[in-house]
């Protein structure tokens, strides 16, 4: 397995280099340093101020290596910053990007981890329940509600949640975030609830299909014939044997818990990495944006390797070679 993992990591390195080159093309060839400077300084900035800004931020250097500037150019600088995880300073406010990222990880995790755990727990629980009552009105109602909730965009959940639960019923603050222990749970309750509800439909529908497929297999009939109770059949046999598709779905999501949720964080004003990305897009803060895109691609590669390893854990018959 070690050889497999090393090989996958090797492939991953090539993908990362490709991503870095693509990012460079996207951020430096499409947008000029003058555009970046003008956005950072505002409309009233005079030309000499724009020039100074470019000089101070190193954007006045040539794009490609060439005679006299083999290392002192934007391409080398870009690869150096990304591969050393130094990232440099934000184009928008000059603050080190690493500092911004480390500040954003905790709020993101405070939102995504409970959302993930509760979502998976409820998703599996409800789908087992629905599968258990297959072909009854509970099953049909479960599928109907799942399809219904899947069809509603996340933005509507956010606005509706804020309006109904925050404004009309006054159960939770409409939006905001504060690490103060007296109010943190209040701020997280609504976004977590909205996050769970918005993803529950697709999870339930997917898990239900997987479970129902398993229920009709021979080993389940055998288990029942041997006198195993329904609860034991569902949790001890069906759930265990349906783990491969479930794990694929779940493990791929784990790395992205760190990058937060773009819409939920922006909608509820949670200062995590998701809203950091949205802000970087809005402010044309390319240095922050390329760092976030780069981290996202790394986490994606990591998630894929992690999923492969998880297969061997849930199904000992699988060997990675």
């Amino acid at each position: 397995m070690l050889a497999y993992v090393l090989r996958r990591l090797g492939y991953g390195c090539f993908v990362v280099l490709g991503v870095l080159f693509f990012l460079f093309a996207l951020f430096f060839l499409v947008t000029t340093p003058d555009d970046i400077a003008q956005r950072a300084l505002g409309e009233k900035a005079m030309p000499q101020v724009v020039e100074r800004w470019k000089e101070n931020h190193g954007y006045n250097r040539p794009l490609w290596p060439g005679p006299g500037h083999a290392t002192d150019n934007l391409l080398v600088d870009h690869f150096q910053k990304m591969l050393t995880f130094e990232f440099g300073n934000s184009d928008a406010d000059g603050v080190p990007i690493r500092q911004r990222i480390s500040e954003g990880v905790l709020p993101s995790l405070l939102l995504t981890v409970p959302m993930f755990v509760i979502g998976i727990g409820f998703g599996i629980g409800i789908s087992l329940f629905v599968a258990f009552f297959r072909e009854t009105y509970i099953d049909r109602l479960g599928v109907f509600v799942s399809v219904l909730t899947m069809s509603i965009p996340l933005l509507l959940y956010i606005i509706g949640g804020q309006f109904l639960l925050g404004k009309m019923l006054r159960w939770f603050p409409v939006s905001g975030f504060d690490l103060h222990p007296g109010v943190l749970a209040r701020f997280l309750a609504l976004p977590v609830l909205v996050g769970v509800l918005s993803s529950l439909g697709s999870d339930v529908r997917f898990f239900r299909t997987v479970f129902i497929e398993e229920i009709f297999k021979d080993y389940v009939r055998t288990a029942r014939a041997k006198g195993a109770g329904e609860m034991r059949v569902m949790t001890g046999h069906v759930l265990r044997n349906a783990m491969i598709p479930v794990v694929t779905n779940v493990v791929m999501a784990i790395p992205f818990l760190f990058t937060g949720s773009l819409l939920l964080e922006a909608g509820f004003g949670i200062p995590g990495l998701g809203s950091l990305t949205v802000e970087a897009i809005q402010a044309n803060d390319f240095s922050t944006l390329r760092a976030m895109v780069f981290l996202g691609s790394l986490l994606f590669i990591f998630g894929q390797i992690l999923t492969d390893i998880a297969y061997t854990w849930v199904d000992p018959r699988i060997r990675l070679e």
Binding site: V50, F133, G166, V174, G176, D178, V183
Partner: protein, 668 residues
């Protein structure tokens, strides 16, 4: 089932209150405000955006400030005792001597350990140091241009750069030592600890306004040397050292910013001075107050400032949640969001609902102007086409209906503009009617025909006149707004195509001069006509200096009048020059003046002493709060409605019980 009920119970128990603040703050004079955009920097030499200024304006004090109540705006002493008079120098220069108030202090800060102290007095050299920072090329301050009027300013910047480029040892010196070794500049020096002397190469009366802004606030060298972002220390842009009425207590700019009252501010230490900005001013001499407003404001006269103990800013990226929290009493002030406008405002005033809740509406016209500009370097709409293009611009101006635009897109918030100068500025004449700024399609058609485009057809080619309107907004809403203008011209038969690109591409077009018609706006830096009319001078043209004259208007007579006008004191002579300049713009039409925007601010009944200002002026130190009234109203407005939660649980039980009963029966 039981699990679901338990989860609902736990969630409700943990979070079942919509109060976003810890309860212990209920009895304190804390002002709660939302902010949508985090400040980019709190370094006063760099902070230029409204978001930056919301914080720096309260934290850094200035030599001069605006009288809180008087309109038109009037400068008064701040950290300086009074507004200095200019002294003409034999070489044509001008000198201003700012006398500082005694006993001025920076806040307590660890940076002063560099000078073996915990805090220290503010002296004239702290202003000199900050002005030298503005000239420092490494800083790229956005206000290099106006401060270049200070004698030796630009030369100092060049000297500093040259020394840094050639001398490694010089670069290692502490920042204040670098400035000293580079020789400073004679335009800013101290004459003892309490006198700052400013010398200009040429008369520039507007320079005083720049001393009412934070760019020239006192800066201790210790703060710049200490807060360098190294070894775990924050950067100066995130850690200001206060000289003003508030100081930063907590700075988490993507979520929460807290400003505490600064006990070392001169107003807090010396209320007996009764300086206009240190105690609440008298309404004497304030002419535009109603009797009720006067009575309300007079009740606070002499109040020791700042009246607030703290200001809590909470980040709200979206306007609707922020407005909902305002309606729940969790913010003390709010803008009116478009989605709720008709509910909140009726017939230009507050709706009955809002009045019942004790809210107040404060309106103010922003000293800003929005306009459609013509690129005067363009072959069709610009000066090359001579009289023909002038008639075309006049005709196009006559077709534009700003009042209708404001009604459709801004709920009527704004005044139609007839000249570049907005209300509140010297030179603005409410009676003035620009003959080309009232809709007159008949006259427009005549002018168009005289221009050689009868019915919008170019008589030389027989083809329809086709123009391009370049806009930096590709959103559907933006498109609707801009289409409104093009449809107005369509009524004359002119085919104006919308060329909507993103901001970067638009900037590129402007840089390359590849545009015909555009829409832009300008917000005043300070309340002087010079700050608007310079936008149409030749030296500021994009094609000359990449300056803000995007219309590339170049008119020698206008330039000459501007040069005369800008150095004059407000008076009849200046007024006559302004009228003459307005006449040139009226005839030449490089701009179609659209509107002056109007701000509507909603204020909770428990917030006192609010007077709208329009300009970006720090006013929070004048505000006062009645916390008892706020607590009572908040609790009555925010009783949670729990019945639906129990109804939901009951519904789930009803749905599941038959299935479970069937299952149990089958098992038996």
């Amino acid at each position: 089932m039981r699990a679901a009920a338990t989860v609902i119970g736990v969630v409700l128990a943990l979070g079942c209150s919509n109060n976003p603040y810890p309860d212990q703050d209920d009895d304190r004079k804390v002002l709660y405000l939302p902010f949508s955009e985090p400040p980019k920097t709190l370094d006063p030499a760099l902070a230029y955006s409204t978001a930056d200024h919301a914080i720096t304006g309260k934290v850094y004090d200035t030599l001069l400030e605006y009288h809180y109540l008087k309109r038109p705006y009037e400068l008064v002493g701040g950290l300086a005792r009074s507004v200095p008079e200019p002294t003409s120098l034999p070489d044509g220069g001008v000198e201003y001597r700012f006398e500082l108030r005694p006993d001025l202090w920076f806040q307590n800060d660890p940076c002063f350990a560099l000078a073996s102290a915990s805090k220290r007095r503010i002296v004239a050299d702290d202003f000199v140091f900050e002005l030298r920072r503005l000239a420092d090329p490494a800083l790229a301050s956005p206000v290099v241009d106006p401060f270049s009027a200070l004698r030796g300013f630009a030369e100092f910047g060049a000297r500093l750069k040259a020394r840094r480029d050639t001398d490694l040892e010089f670069r290692k010196l502490r920042i204040d030592q670098q400035y000293e070794r580079a020789g400073g500049f004679s335009g800013a020096h101290s004459d003892g600890p309490s006198t700052l002397v400013i010398t200009l190469d040429r008369p520039y009366p507007q320079v005083l306004y720049w001393f009412a802004m934070n760019f020239s606030s006192p800066m201790p060298w210790e703060a710049v040397a200490h807060y360098d972002g190294k070894e775990g220390r924050p950067q100066l842009s995130e850690h200001p050292v206060s000289s003003g009425p508030f100081m930063v207590g907590h700075y988490e700019k993507r979520a929460r910013i807290v400003l505490d009252a600064n006990p070392d501010w001169y107003g807090a230490r010396h209320p007996e001075w009764h300086a206009p900005g240190a105690t609440f001013p008298s309404t004497d001499g304030v002419v535009d107050l109603s009797a009720a407003e006067k009575e309300r404001l007079d009740a606070s006269q002499g109040l020791r400032l700042p009246a607030l103990a703290r200001i809590e800013y909470r980040r709200e990226e979206e306007s609707i949640p922020a407005f909902n929290k305002f309606l729940q009493g969790y913010y003390d002030m709010s803008a009116v969001v478009r989605e709720s406008f008709n509910r909140v405002i009726q017939e230009g005033g507050l709706s009955e609902d809002m009045k019942k809740q004790g809210m107040q509406l404060e309106k103010s016209v922003v000293p800003a102007v929005y306009y459609i500009g013509f690129n005067m370097d363009d072959a069709v709409v610009g000066r090359q086409a001579g009289e023909k293009s002038k008639l075309l611009r006049q005709a196009m101006s006559l077709a534009i209906d700003s009042t209708e635009y404001l009604r459709l897109f801004s709920n009527g918030r704004g005044l139609p503009a007839h000249s570049p100068l907005p209300p509140g500025l010297f030179g603005y004449d409410p009676a003035y009617q620009n003959p080309y700024r009232s809709v007159d399609l008949k006259k427009a058609a005549e002018l168009l025909a005289r221009a050689g485009y009868p019915g919008g057809i170019d008589s030389a080619t027989g083809r329809a006149l086709r123009l391009s309107f370049d806009v930096p907004d590709t959103s559907p809403e933006g498109r609707l707004r801009f289409l409104f203008w093009t449809n107005q011209w369509r009524r004359l038969g002119i085919d104006v195509q919308l060329s909507a690109t993103n901001y970067n591409k638009f900037q590129g077009k402007v840089r390359d001069g590849a545009y015909q018609i555009f829409q832009w706006g300008w917000v005043a830096d300070y309340p002087d006509p010079e700050n608007f009319l310079f936008l149409l001078t030749t030296p500021m043209a994009r094609s000359v200096s990449q300056g803000p004259n995007t219309a590339n208007f170049k008119n020698p007579a206008y330039d000459r009048l501007f040069e005369q006008m800008k150095t004059l004191e407000n008076g009849p002579e200046r007024r006559a020059l302004l009228d003459e300049m307005r006449g040139i713009l009226e005839d030449e039409r490089p701009w179609i003046e659209l509107f002056y925007p109007e701000d509507y601010a909603l204020v909770q009944g428990w917030l006192k002493n609010v007077r709208p200002v329009g300009l970006s002026i720090p006013t929070a130190k004048y505000y006062d709060i009645d916390p008892a009234q706020r607590r009572t109203r908040r609790s009555s407005w925010n009783e949670p409605v729990l019945a639906p939660a129990f109804a939901l649980v009951a519904l789930l039980v009803l749905l599941l019980v038959p299935a479970v009963r069937t299952f149990m029966r089958e098992r038996q």
